[in-house]
C-alpha cells in the first residue's frame, strides 16, 4: 500500500504557485490588451461608468489613438516587468526539478563557507547581477553591463544605409575604391568605424577623424598589413543600397552622398 502524498509536499506547492502565476499572467494579458482598450474607448466617448468617464477630460486636444497609445506603452512596460518576475519565480520554483540527489539535500544544505567570505560572495553577486538586471529591466547599457540589444530591432526595410570611407587613388580621372576590407583601417572594423565617424561628426571634428583614417591606411599599407593601393585622398560617403538577395550590388550602392574629403579637393581639381 502506498502512502498518500503529504499536503505540504514541495511539488504541490510548486504546482499551486505555478498555476497561480500563469492564471495571473493570462488575466493580465486579457485585461491589458482586450478589456482595457475597450474601456478607454468607452470612457473617451463618455459611454462608460461615470467614475471612468471622469478620468478622460482632454478629448478636445487629444484624439483617442493618443490615449490608446499611452495605455499600450504602459501595458507593455508592465507586461515586461511581470514577465521577468514570472520567469524568475518559475525558475526559482523549478530549482529542484532537474537535479537528482534530493536525498543528499538535507545534509548539504548547510553553507560550507565562513561568514565574512559569504558576505563577500553576496556582495560580489549583488554588484554583478544587480548591474546586469538593472540594465535588463531598464533597457539600458552601462558597460560592462548590458541588455545585449544586438540584432533586437525589427528591420523590414528593403534598403540599408551606412557611412563608408572611400580611398581616392587618382583625382583626374577620378578613381576611388571602397575601403570595405576590415584590414584597411585596423584596429577599426566595418562595424566599429561608422559609429566612431558619427561621433566625430557630432563633435564637428569629422575632417580630423578622416585624416586620422587616411594616415592609418597609409601607415598600414607601407607596413604591408594590407594590399590596398596608395591614396591621394580619402572621402566619406553615406551609402544606401536596396538589399539584393545575392548581394550582387554590394559595389554599386543606389545612393552615394559625399560628406567630406581629406585632404580637401582644391578648386579646379579633377
Amino acid at each position: 500500500m502506498t502512502s498518500p502524498m503529504p499536503k505540504d509536499h514541495p511539488s504541490h506547492a510548486r504546482l499551486f504557485w505555478t498555476a497561480a502565476l500563469v492564471t495571473v499572467a493570462v488575466m493580465w494579458v486579457v485585461f491589458a490588451y482586450s478589456v482595457a482598450p475597450e474601456m478607454i474607448a468607452k470612457a473617451y466617448r463618455g459611454e462608460s461608468l461615470s467614475i471612468f468617464n471622469r478620468l478622460i477630460a482632454g478629448q478636445a486636444n487629444h484624439p483617442l489613438t493618443e490615449y490608446l497609445a499611452d495605455w499600450s506603452r504602459l501595458a507593455n512596460k508592465v507586461s515586461f516587468g511581470l514577465g521577468v518576475l514570472v520567469a524568475g519565480v518559475l525558475l526559482a520554483l523549478g530549482l529542484g526539478s532537474g537535479e537528482p540527489g534530493s536525498a543528499a539535500l538535507e545534509s548539504s544544505s548547510a553553507i560550507a563557507i565562513s561568514r565574512p567570505r559569504l558576505l563577500l560572495v553576496y556582495g560580489l553577486g549583488a554588484i554583478i547581477f544587480g548591474g546586469a538586471l538593472a540594465d535588463l529591466v531598464r533597457d539600458t547599457e552601462h558597460w560592462p553591463f548590458s541588455q545585449y540589444p544586438m540584432f533586437s530591432e525589427i528591420q523590414q526595410s528593403k534598403t540599408y544605409s551606412m557611412l563608408r570611407l572611400y580611398g581616392v587613388v587618382e583625382r583626374s580621372p577620378l578613381i576611388e575604391v571602397p575601403l570595405d576590407s576590415n584590414l584597411y583601417l585596423q584596429p577599426f572594423d566595418n562595424s566599429r568605424l561608422p559609429p566612431a565617424l558619427q561621433h566625430a561628426l557630432r563633435e564637428n571634428r569629422l575632417d580630423e577623424g578622416v585624416t586620422d583614417c587616411l594616415t592609418r591606411y597609409e601607415t598600414l599599407r607601407r607596413a604591408k598589413r594590407h594590399d590596398g593601393p596608395p591614396l591621394v585622398a580619402m572621402r566619406l560617403y553615406r551609402l544606401t543600397w536596396t538589399l539584393d538577395p545575392s548581394a550582387s550590388n554590394v559595389d554599386r550602392p543606389d545612393r552615394k552622398e559625399l560628406l567630406t574629403e581629406v585632404p580637401p579637393r582644391r578648386e579646379g581639381g579633377d
Binding site: L95, E99, L124, G125, L136, F151, I154, Q156, E208, A247
Partner: protein, 439 residues
C-alpha cells in the same frame, strides 16, 4: 521557503573538493591565453581585434568612453603603455592558468583585462564578446581557484612532504563556477528578452532574419561571414523564421541549464552552435563566449574518468629515501602529478622488507643515495634517468619529455641531480645513518 533556502544554499555553496574549480581555472585562463596570443598571428583577417596595442595610435577624435571607463576617468593610454599592459596581462593569464601566484595573477588578469577590453568599446561601438570574460575574471579573482591543480598547490604539498593533507571540501569551490554559469545564462537570457521586448513575435514572424542575413554581406560587420550560405538561407521562405525562432528560444531557455543537468546536454551545445552559426552566416564572431561554455563541463569528473582508466594495467615503482626531507617534498610533488595513478611510491627506509621481497635486485644503499624508478618490466633507472622514465607516465612530464632526450641534456641533468643529491649531506637533510634504519 525552507526548501527553497536549502536549494539555494546547495546551488551556491555545496561542499565539494577544489578540483573542479582548479580545472575550470586552467581551462578558462589557458584557452584565453592561447586565444589572445595566437589569433592575431593565425587569423590576421580578424585576429587583429585581439591585439589591443593599435588602439594607442587611434585619434582621440573617436574617443567616446563607455560607462565605467568614463566613471573611473580612465583615459586612452599611449601605444607603449598599452603594449606593456598587454604583455603583463598575457603573462597574468598564463600564470593564472598554471596557478602560480594565483591570487595576484587572477587579479591582474581582471584589472588589466577590464581596461584592455574597455578600450575598443570606447572607440565607437560596444561589441559583446568579452562581457562574460570580464565577469568570469572578476569572479575568479575573488575565488580560491588556486587551491588545487596549481603550482601554488604543488609548492604547498612539497612543503608538507609525503604526508598527504586531509582532503578539503568547501562551499568555496562551488560558488565561483556557479556564478559564472549564471552570468553566461543571464547574458543569453537578456539578449532574448531584448529581442522580445523590442520586436515581439515579429522578430520571428517578419522577414527580419532574411534582412540580417543579407545585409551582413555588404561588409558591415567586424568580420565577414565565413561562408556565403547566409544568402542562400535568406532566400528561403521558412528557414529564416526557423533560425530566428530557435535563436530566441535558445537564448530565453538557457537559464534552465542552471538547474537541469539533462537540459545542459542540448542547451549549452545549442548556444555554442548558434554563435558559431552566426560567424558562419553573418560574420560577427563570439569565440570567447563559445570558449566560456567549456566551464559548464564537470572537469573533475572528466579527469576522474580518465585517471580511473589509468588505475588499471601497468605501474611504475619509485623507491625513495623516506628519511630525507628533500626526497619527501619531491615525492609529495610527484604524487600530485601522478594524475593517471601509474606510479607506486615506496619508502626505502620504512618499507624495505616488502620492497626487498618484490624487487630482490634492488640495493638499499643505492636507493638511499639515488631515487630508483622501476618500469613495469622491472628495468631500473636512477637519478636523472629515473625522472626521465617518470616523465613518460606523468601527464605534465609529456611536455618536457622530448627535451629530456636532447643530446647533452642527460649529461647536464645527471650532474644537476648529483649536485643536489650531494647537498643533502649538508643542512637539514643529511643522509640517514644506515645503522639506525630499521631492518
Amino acid at each position: 521557503m525552507i526548501s527553497l533556502r536549502k536549494h539555494w544554499n546547495r546551488f551556491w555553496f555545496e561542499a565539494v573538493s577544489p578540483d573542479n574549480l582548479g580545472l575550470c581555472r586552467i581551462v578558462l585562463y589557458g584557452t584565453m591565453f592561447l586565444y589572445y596570443v595566437l589569433t592575431p598571428w593565425l587569423f590576421p583577417s580578424w585576429g587583429y581585434h585581439e591585439d589591443f596595442v593599435p588602439w594607442g595610435s587611434v585619434s582621440r577624435v573617436f574617443w567616446s568612453p563607455v560607462w565605467l571607463m568614463s566613471v573611473l576617468h580612465l583615459p586612452p593610454a599611449s601605444t607603449q603603455m598599452i603594449q606593456a599592459m598587454q604583455i603583463v596581462w598575457r603573462a597574468a593569464l598564463a600564470f593564472s592558468c598554471i596557478g602560480l601566484f594565483t591570487r595576484i595573477s587572477t587579479v591582474a588578469s581582471f584589472v588589466l583585462g577590464f581596461y584592455l577590453f574597455g578600450l575598443p568599446a570606447s572607440f565607437g561601438r560596444i561589441h559583446h564578446q568579452e562581457h562574460v570574460l570580464i565577469f568570469s575574471f572578476l569572479i575568479m579573482a575573488f575565488s580560491r581557484c588556486g587551491d588545487a591543480w596549481s603550482v601554488d598547490a604543488l609548492i604547498r604539498k612539497a612543503r608538507a612532504g609525503t604526508i598527504p593533507p586531509p582532503p578539503v571540501i568547501s562551499g568555496e569551490y562551488t560558488w565561483p563556477v556557479r556564478m559564472i554559469w549564471v552570468v553566461i545564462a543571464l547574458t543569453y537570457f537578456a539578449a532574448g528578452v531584448s529581442k522580445v521586448r523590442h520586436s515581439g513575435f515579429e522578430w520571428v514572424a517578419s522577414g527580419n532574419m532574411s534582412y540580417f542575413l543579407m545585409s551582413q554581406y555588404y561588409h558591415v560587420s567586424d568580420a565577414d561571414p565565413l561562408t556565403s550560405l547566409g544568402l542562400v538561407l535568406a532566400r528561403g521562405s521558412v528557414l529564416p523564421h526557423l533560425l530566428a525562432a530557435s535563436g530566441v528560444v535558445l537564448e530565453l531557455a538557457l537559464p534552465i541549464a542552471l538547474f537541469s543537468r539533462r537540459s545542459r546536454w542540448f542547451l549549452v551545445p545549442g548556444a555554442a552552435s548558434m554563435q558559431f552559426g552566426i560567424a558562419m552566416l553573418m560574420g560577427p564572431n563570439f569565440y570567447q563566449m563559445i570558449i566560456c561554455q567549456l566551464l559548464w563541463v564537470p572537469w573533475d569528473r572528466v579527469v576522474a574518468r580518465i585517471t580511473h582508466l589509468g588505475e588499471h594495467g601497468y605501474r611504475y615503482a619509485v623507491v625513495y629515501d623516506g628519511a630525507c626531507g628533500l626526497c619527501r617534498q619531491t615525492i609529495g610533488v610527484l604524487r600530485s602529478l601522478d594524475l593517471a595513478g601509474k606510479v607506486e611510491f615506496l619508502d626505502a627506509v620504512n618499507e624495505w622488507p616488502g620492497i626487498e621481497k618484490r624487487f630482490p635486485d634492488l640495493d638499499r644503499n643505492q636507493c638511499l643515495t639515488n631515487m630508483q624508478v622501476l618500469n613495469p618490466q622491472g628495468k631500473k633507472y636512477g637519478g636523472f634517468y629515473g625522472y626521465r622514465a617518470l616523465a613518460q607516465v606523468l601527464p605534465l612530464g609529456w611536455l618536457v619529455l622530448p627535451v629530456l632526450y636532447l643530446p647533452g641534456i642527460p649529461w647536464i641533468g645527471s650532474r644537476v641531480y648529483r649536485f643536489v643529491a650531494s647537498r643533502r649531506h649538508q643542512g637539514a637533510c643529511p643522509l640517514p645513518n644506515f645503522s639506525q634504519i630499521p631492518k
